[in-house]
């Protein structure tokens, strides 16, 4: 229904463009009126006037559909005890009614046995509500459709009638478009605000259950303790003590990120140096795209590879030399992540190395330095700020990476600095706490937002630090 309505809206607005333009031309040639804008602009004017209110209202209807639905269906007459229901129960009932509303109006013969049993299990009131819901969906669909046809047509004709010699359409149209353009560029800010607000609000909810000091400084991580308690009964403080301790997640994240950087920094930097300073053009043209393939591979692929091949391989190697290695060792996840970050480090370093002016190299060669001495003593110091910046960006990438650690790292928190032991990360715990039942009144779900906020701030800090270092310490050669 909604796609059909959108299509009609497009067709109507396209027609109004011609109607508006035609009327303007008519005035100009048959009415001998001098127009203040090009005829095209009258077409645009009519379209904008017809389209914008309809789209805004559609957006509003879409946003508040849930509220209307609840008002229409969940009346206290059908469900007398509705005011005592929790959000979770309300959601469950609504879901049930949604399923019922699809089948409630069908003839009995068309139903499968499963559907029949659903119908039989529902109470009389639920059936009435489901019928109401089906009605509501119908009414909602039709009101959308009429809104899409009637309102633009009325507005369009009003706008067409207002076209005259006095109306200067061009500035109006340009003003509206300027507002639209301006609005688009503010959306980026809105997204950031949205991220911040949604994280902060839910994190505050989380900190109602758990003391922030406990969260940031305690070393025990057993979120399932919160899960066994029913949210409506409130939580025993003792249950939550040591249930949400951030420290083991932080050490796990840093451990895996460190392993990743130990792989990625030397390989990425040396590849960049080799390709920028040594390789012939032909080698560079082949090798560079191949290394950049690594950056294009989705992280879920690395995670699969780490869990399927890398982790068992490391375990076998470790055991053959007598080292006990976990099947979910931090080493496997870190290595896979390191490989993923190689092209990130190498392409950023490559840019910085290329930016060092040739005159510095020539000067160094003229003094008799070899190429490697030039690189180590002249080019790298000159490019140091940029390279450090790229390392920091890579660290921030490693900390925020999710799929590799979800698939290859452990779920159990473990306060360790030994890469052969299992470790868990912030992102892994965000994912595990949100998979399955999402209940916004349980700290087990809400902790994801507190972790997300911490992660967001950590990566933000690293990025700002990287930009500051690059800006402050960059050598300028003019």
């Amino acid at each position: 229904m909604i796609y059909f309505a959108l299509l009609i809206l497009v067709i109507i607005s396209y027609l109004f463009y011609f109607i508006g333009k035609k009327r303007a031309l008519n005035l100009k040639f048959n009415g001998n009126i001098k127009l203040s804008s090009q005829p095209d602009y009258f077409g645009y004017y009519v379209v904008l006037m017809a389209l914008i209110p309809a789209l805004l209202m559609w957006f509003g209807l879409l946003l508040f559909k849930g509220n209307f639905q609840e008002m229409f269906v969940m009346s206290p007459i059908l469900f007398p005890d509705i005011s005592t229901w929790s959000d979770g129960k309300l959601g469950l009932i609504l879901n049930k009614l949604n399923n019922l509303s699809v089948i409630v109006n069908l003839p009995l013969d068309d139903l499968t046995n499963g559907e029949k049993s659903i119908l039989n299990m529902a109470s009389e009131n639920e059936l009435t509500a489901a019928k109401k819901l089906a009605n509501f969906d119908k009414i909602y669909g039709w009101s959308n459709l009429t809104l899409f046809i009637i309102l633009p047509i009325i507005l369009g004709f009003l706008a067409t009638r207002s076209i005259s010699g006095k109306l200067n359409a061009q500035p109006i149209v340009e003003k509206i478009i300027t507002y639209i353009i301006k609005g688009s560029s503010y959306i980026a800010i809105l997204i950031t605000i949205g991220i911040f607000l949604s994280l902060v609000f839910e994190a505050i909810n989380f900190f109602r259950y758990v003391n922030p000091v406990d969260f940031f400084f305690s070393t025990g991580w057993n979120p399932n303790r919160a899960f066994v308690v029913d949210a409506s009964e409130g939580f025993d403080k003792d249950d939550l003590e040591n249930a949400f301790g951030f420290i083991p997640l932080l050490t796990g994240t840093l451990l895996i990120a460190t392993v990743a950087m130990i792989v990625a920094i030397p390989l990425g930097l040396m590849s960049a140096i080799y390709l920028a300073e040594y390789a012939s053009k032909r080698v560079r043209d082949i090798a560079k795209p191949i290394i950049e393939i690594l950056a294009g591979i989705p992280t879920v692929v690395y995670g699969f590879f780490a869990a399927l091949s890398l982790a068992p391989f490391i375990k076998d190697v470790g055991e053959s030399v007598g080292l006990p290695v976990s099947a979910e060792s931090a080493l496997a996840a870190g290595l896979a992540m390191g490989v993923m970050i190689i092209p990130f480090v190498s392409s950023l370093s490559d840019d910085v190395i290329k930016a060092v002016p040739q005159s510095l190299r020539d000067g160094s060669y003229a003094l008799g330095a070899t190429r490697s001495e030039t690189i180590k003593k002249v080019i790298l110091p000159a490019a140091l700020a940029g390279i450090m910046g790229s390392f920091l960006l890579a660290v921030s990438r490693a900390i925020g990476e999710t799929m590799i650690v979800v698939m290859a790292a452990s779920l159990r928190a473990n306060l360790t600095f030994n890469p052969l032991e299992p470790a868990t990360t912030i992102t892994t715990q965000i994912v595990t706490s949100l998979i399955g039942d999402v209940e916004f009144d349980n700290p087990k779900t809400l902790v994801a937002f507190a972790l997300g906020l911490t992660l967001f701030l950590m990566t933000l800090l690293l990025n700002i630090l990287a930009i500051t270092i690059v800006k402050k310490y960059r050598e300028k050669y003019e």
Binding site: G66, T112, E174, I181, S185, I187, A188, I189, I191, T192, G194, I195, L197, S198, L199, L267, G268, M270, S271, I273, Y278, A279, I290, I291, L294, G296, I297, P298, T299, V300, V301, Y302, G303, F304, F305, L308, S309, I342, T370, R371, S372, E373, I375, K376, G400, E401, T402, M403, V406, M407, I430, L434, V438, F449, G452, L455, F456, T459, L460, I464
Partner: protein, 416 residues
């Protein structure tokens, strides 16, 4: 002289390190690809067992005159059991269960689908290639070893002997696995397909494009052409750069907290997935589009302004069309990244088990990468090759998109 030799060998060593680093990185690409192709290629064929099928109307309780709806509703389970009994006569009850396990659990659906296409076959006997169960499939493909003790095998000695008999009769054959490309997910590896996930990803990408492309383009036009450098632009600019570096999982939390929690959009639908991916792609598009707008020389703008065009006309008639190839290239690359993103889909619930193929952006669905994740978490060996094959398909899409970006850049981009 000695010190010069030392310096020269240090030079050689350093160069060798560099070469080694490049070679090692390239080696990683190769080993990754090799691993995926070697485990995934098996998913494109499926083992079938030839069987004589008699569509006995008594077992399915339909006749020649039955409507399509009745054919669809009828139960084919009894018929499937009967087919097994007829093709393997003289089985006791225990043996029958073992033999039945060699065929797919979706046996009845296969019979139903055949009958729906050929309703005239009721009451007739035909020879059909019935899909084998995943465990048997893995034995035939050689992924399960045969020479281990019976207790460690999913297929026992009796089933192996039946399999060998069927093979010697020439009844076991491999066919191209169309199901993988046409079906939705399934609990049984042999009948699980990727199409539902592909459609889910497609709807999400359409939403992502229709959100991020117009807004990204207009925002970059505003920042490059209309606004003078100042505090507001600085804030927007810093903001966009930071947004580009926010971890994808945080965007997922935004989708869960804002779009689902506050606005009340449904869980696990491509609409929400597409919007979240759109939020993520927006900075990429804005950055690419601004670079592209900046590369349009000022002489174009001055020329248009000189013949009396307004600022708006200059930008929309001349600057944007010239910068569009660069913007499109950036958009396609951003969309390719979005296609491979898994973490945000996990947050908004697009990782559930969905059998139906979604018909629109408001139907529950998984995405291509989240389907890969789902299969990779499954313990059955049959899903391992599905996972790798899913990855191959995902990589194929990424290659196509990136190639398209390169082609657009080469063909359409104007060099000034």
């Amino acid at each position: 002289m000695n010190s010069l030799n030392k310096r020269l060998s240090a030079e050689k060593r350093f160069r060798a390190y560099g070469l080694f680093a490049v070679a090692l990185s390239m080696f990683f690409v190769l080993i990754l690809m090799w691993k995926i192709f070697s485990t995934g290629s098996g998913a494109f064929v499926r083992t079938t067992i030839e069987a004589n099928v008699f569509f006995n109307p008594d077992f399915i309780q339909v006749n020649q005159n039955s409507l399509e709806k009745e054919l669809y509703r009828a139960s084919y389970v009894a018929l499937a059991d009967e087919v097994v009994r007829q093709n393997h006569p003289k089985l006791n009850e225990e043996q029958f269960i073992k033999v039945r396990e060699m065929y797919t659990r979706k046996f009845d659906y296969q019979l139903r689908d055949y009958l729906l296409d050929n309703p005239d076959k009721i009451g007739q006997s035909i020879i059909m290639k019935i899909t084998a169960s995943s465990d048997l499939d893995q034995i035939v493909k050689g992924n399960y070893p045969r020479d281990v003790p019976e207790a460690q095998r999913k297929i026992n000695d009796y089933q192996l002997s039946v399999l060998d008999k069927l093979t010697s009769e020439g009844k076991v054959s491999s066919v191209f696995n169309f199901w993988f490309f046409t079906k939705g997910d399934s609990r049984d590896p042999e009948s699980a397909g990727i199409w539902g996930a592909v459609m889910g990803s497609l709807y999400a990408l359409i939403i992502c494009f229709s959100f991020a492309f117009p807004i990204g383009l207009l925002a970059s036009v505003y920042l490059e052409e209309f606004v003078k450098p100042g505090k507001v632009t600085d804030i927007i600019e810093v903001n966009i750069n930071n947004l580009a570096a926010v971890p994808s999982i945080v965007f997922g939390l935004l989708g869960l907290g804002m779009l689902i929690g506050v606005i009340g959009l449904p869980y696990q639908v491509p609409l929400v997935g597409g919007l979240v991916l759109g939020f993520m792609t927006l900075p990429t598009i804005i950055i690419a589009s601004r670079a592209s707008l900046r590369s349009v020389p000022p002489s174009i703008r001055e020329g248009a302004l000189a013949v009396g065009a307004t600022k708006m006309q200059t930008v929309f008639h001349h600057v944007i069309p010239l910068s569009l190839p660069g913007t499109l290239t950036g958009t396609i690359i951003g969309m390719a990244q979005a296609l491979g993103e898994t973490a945000p889909l996990l947050m908004i619930g697009m990782v559930a088990f969905v059998m139906e193929i979604p018909g629109g952006p408001l139907d529950p669905a998984t995405g291509l990468p989240s389907q890969i994740y789902l299969w990779s978490e499954s313990a059955e060996r049959g899903f391992l090759e599905k996972t790798s094959a899913g990855i191959m398909l995902l990589l194929l899409f990424l290659i196509i998109m990136n190639t398209a970006a390169v082609v657009i850049r080469r063909r359409l981009e104007v060099k000034w």
